[in-house]
Symmetry: D2
Subunit: 363 residues, 4 copies
């Protein structure tokens, strides 16, 4: 029901605006006894931090996270562990330039939530998009770090960009290690170079472009998820679609499966060496009937181009005047680039929630 | 939290298995005073009823709905209206043939939930897929009929198939009226003929094929929905992804928007004759920042091919034996065909929920 | 959020009106593999059935329960077990006399929900109280039977009446076995006789009287429940206060503890023979900080007198006329008598929910 | 589901431990456009602040609240108003003395959550009770201030102590104004003097004592609340029972109604001068069938004596040793005294939630 809470047993609530004093998340339902330090959370935040390359916003924010509650020294190890109580995480906003907002105060930037926030609320923090800013996703990344502790190290969650604009990677070149070698989380070494030039051009022209990301989870045991409205794929779809600028989500073969025949689409089964069923293909994306089948969970999602561009576009004001608007400022030419850590965080949170839910309802 | 409940203020809970005595839905949170008869609900159920053409399962079920609670005679009109209390809807199963299930009792049909249900629950009603059967969607359609009463006649919700297998409609030929003239809910008269032949071949060969559907809502005012995790698009994505066999969801331009530049993607605005902002294009699918903008809500979703096919495929049994399996029975060559009324129902339920939520939180 | 759903992981949704075709409950979240038959559920329903003695309503209803979903034959035993899917329970209403309701159709019976239902909904099923009838509690009792399967036989839940009108039992005489020997669930043999005469007089004079019940759960392990807003006592209070006619709830010493000093109130601890802490007294009612401490859970609740009485009282009509009203019909002289099985059911449902929640969040 | 969230449409989530860096609340679902300043919230916090008289803990905390999000300058007035987004409230802990906790680190203080937290979580912030400290209630009071903005000035919520130990007020002397003239929120001038002496004795002897509070809401219109499990009285009971040390809750006549006959208990009705039904008595506490009837909402609740006392009591340690324990420190001789602002806050939050829920579901 809450607009700002995600998850059920493992859940988090985020708060804060782009240019307010701070943003944060309260993570609730986390089991007790898991090691958790600010440094661990910070390592995930640093992956989405602004200002790390010329392909992302030049806003300079350390995005330093503080843990305000829910962690205490362990009796045995003396190190900080979760206590089972709410974990309050806070990131102070440090780069809120006092600037002139008169340009956007009353004008509705196309593609942004300006017009709809006004329609719903009648009042709006217009500074940097306020609550609708992608800055909120830092809170998700922080919560996702906690989720990884719930999942443990046997579950590996990774995201990669597979398309920027019209440039798609070649799946044959896929190498997860490459995603750490370029500023695009690109698993295809060759395509990373193409993107570098391409995005540079986009950036210089004051334009922007969309992207497609793939996020995977390896090591999820068969049996997580639920039927009907509590499906694992339903929750992944909701989690990814809630990310700013997301316009589409696919599980496994996704839209391509519409073109398949049943024979092509069947993920045949044999017995694995571990005595468990294994699948000879993974069109399903690791989920059958809403429940994990033990194979890798695979989801993709599409991110639209950054709406803030330097080209003037036609718009209207709050009071109904017709204007042209051009959005200056420090914008990502492709918001998809920084969405990879966010996608991983959402996947981690969905899985942590379902791990606890599965354990609760087990026979 | 509940695996079998959808929605928040306007919510429904479904129950029942394919071959049990009945299936049903309990609709809760519906406002009082709305006219509601079994006939009205039946008119929607008849659109997804099996046995209506040779392109769908030949299972013969009248799918007759009963209203067991939540409706009473209105003081003024004498006609039945909702009372604000839970509306219990029941559809008795009448075509549960007593047949031999030994074939599928212990074998995992690829693409079905057999293996994952066993992994999660350890016990499984294998008759016709039990709870995982698409028969559950009849309950959604019944709930969706109630949702339409909440929305009123000014909001028009319609679904169409736009792709079957590799055959896509031509958007230029779009005519909503045509969706009622062919058994495929196809808005392109020419393509309907192609599909007829194509599906006939698929059916005769014992194979199956996937589909893509588009569902739209016209007349939704600006301001429904919510930011962050309560986004209208998030809830639509969850609702459509929860439909059996769904593998992907798009809002507005969807995955295509990844290939756009910001300039291409901008939905520019001018003032409409009604004094409200209007959009010169609708790449956003009528939603900005999770909130409706007054334009038509547009979503698409992909349905994988029916997993039950006559071609033998490799699989395993509950006890780990490797077998070949072939699924006989009365199956839809393309389950997408009967998904159109289901898509409309899910869209109606999401919107009814958000209508009530928006009203509750208004200033 | 739902007005008609109780619980979180183990939850049930009830539906139905007193004089509609049926009432029922959908139980969701129940683990798979638990034996469940209609006969088992029926054994609980028979304890609250109307018409069993002259001290309760003479409405004649068999209250026969049907299981419509969520149960299937077990592979190993062949007996019916839960499948993990929603369990739909239905009780058909058979004694809906067609009678003249003109007396209460427009008049607000004091103490009833007539006036407030009209204020909220504007339309009302006035036949037998509609949704506000205590008949709804049969659905709770059915759900409570399922909850007992979740809890297993080691947890014993029992309720007793300890006060009717001004006549309180003597705690010294407490004998749980006696609760099965009289129609009042009275654990004090002597008081049962006093009540018999007393209630007979109340009944003959067309009046009614209130009651206090005590409900206990033995065998609950330490560690169920949660802090702050998910407290076990919070949920027990909510569960009991939701019972028709309930006006007060106590945990352990309840209101008496206000008169105690800290020294008197302290439940001192020593080590038990089983190596677990044991308590030398139980003022806490088995709950500390919202979490069970291993001692017996003890709650009490107060039921107001039946509002339907033969004495005329002053009231108003829907349209604002001032009238005198007297409620004829087949009413319980003390609704508290039939509340004992309902109290047990609510306690069972709260504990089943917390059992699953505790298991989900464990470290 | 969340253990740390209260409410549905208007909801708040609290976090923080007694001796951590801060505590706080995130309020979600608040409508936009309501004036809200830190000063307004502070005025409520100051009423429960420690150190205000010798009858409460001498811990010195300013309890200064910060608003970190969800408020922005209003277009029209320029003053701060709610934006409809989550309101993050933080109170820094300033009086966390570094002291020796070895006494309580491993010992279970009777009446406290020490033993049960360990049973559930296995790890525990023992400093000042950690999450189980009554300090958490400051977060509730802050959230309650926001709730009052939702309710507006026409709804007046007030709490009073009516019993401390065995000393009960005389209802004939009730004067709401008096509650501001003594440190006990006592509406009976004479009894306030008795309590002053009595509590002084209790305090000096290192003992403690319980209390009963009454909380009322005037001006609630008929029609708020819901039937069955969403009852207004159910939610009030849950809200008050969730307060630290609460052991019992009554609505209206409460347990006394068990001793009444139906004739005594009937709240008769006549038409009021405003054309609405009015009640000639208020045994119901303003709620019928779970829905407000327009009369004053009246609830009472019992608070047990502070568990921290100077008298040594028998207990055990984490590792099973039998010990005597005596709790030194700065404790309230009667925690009930500071519970009055908390009771008001919980009542305000329940009503704000139901105001929004009623508005959402209206026909």
């Amino acid at each position: 029901m809450s607009h700002n809470t995600f998850g059920h047993m493992f859940r988090f609530t985020t708060w804060g605006e782009s240019h307010g004093p701070a943003i944060g998340a309260v993570v609730d339902g986390c089991p007790a006894g898991l090691p958790l330090t600010p440094e661990f959370i910070q390592s995930f935040l640093d992956k989405r931090k602004p200002g790390t390359s010329k392909y992302v916003t030049q806003r300079k924010e350390p995005d330093a996270v503080k843990i305000l509650s829910g962690v205490f020294e362990d009796d045995r190890t003396g190190g900080p562990v979760t206590t089972g109580h709410p974990i309050s995480l806070m990131i102070e906003n440090t780069d809120q330039r006092s600037k002139d907002y008169s340009e956007i105060r009353d004008r509705y930037r196309p593609g942004h939530a300006d017009m709809t926030y006004d329609a719903k609320y009648g009042v709006r923090d217009y500074r940097g998009g306020g609550r609708s800013s992608a800055r909120e996703t830092a809170s998700r990344v922080a919560a996702g770090a906690v989720a990884r502790r719930v999942l443990g190290d046997d579950i590996v969650i990774r995201a990669a960009l597979i398309q920027i604009g019209e440039h798609m990677i070649d799946g044959e070149n896929w190498d997860w290690d490459e995603t750490r070698n370029n500023p695009f989380f690109c698993p295809d070494k060759k395509m990373a170079k193409v993107w570098a030039d391409y995005l540079d051009g986009i950036r210089k022209s004051g334009n922007s472009v969309g992207a497609v990301l793939q996020v995977e989870a390896q090591g999820v045991p068969a049996g997580w998820g639920a039927p009907v409205y509590g499906k694992l794929d339903t929750d992944i779809a909701a989690g990814l679609m809630s990310v700013n600028a997301a316009k589409g989500v696919e599980i496994g073969a996704g839209f391509a499966s519409a073109g398949f025949t049943g024979t092509d689409n069947a993920d045949e089964m044999r017995m694995g060496e571990d005595g468990k069923p294994r699948f000879l293909s993974n069109h399903s994306g690791g989920i059958l009937g809403g429940i994990s089948n033990g194979d890798t969970i695979v989801a993709k999602f599409a991110i639209k181009p950054t709406s803030s561009i330097l080209t003037p576009v036609r718009s209207v004001t709050k009071t109904g005047a017709e204007v042209d608007i051009m959005t200056k400022g420090r914008h990502d030419p492709c918001v998809g680039v920084r969405a990879a850590p966010v996608a991983e965080a959402m996947m981690a949170c969905v899985l942590a929630d379902h791990k606890l839910r599965a354990r609760g309802q087990m026979g």
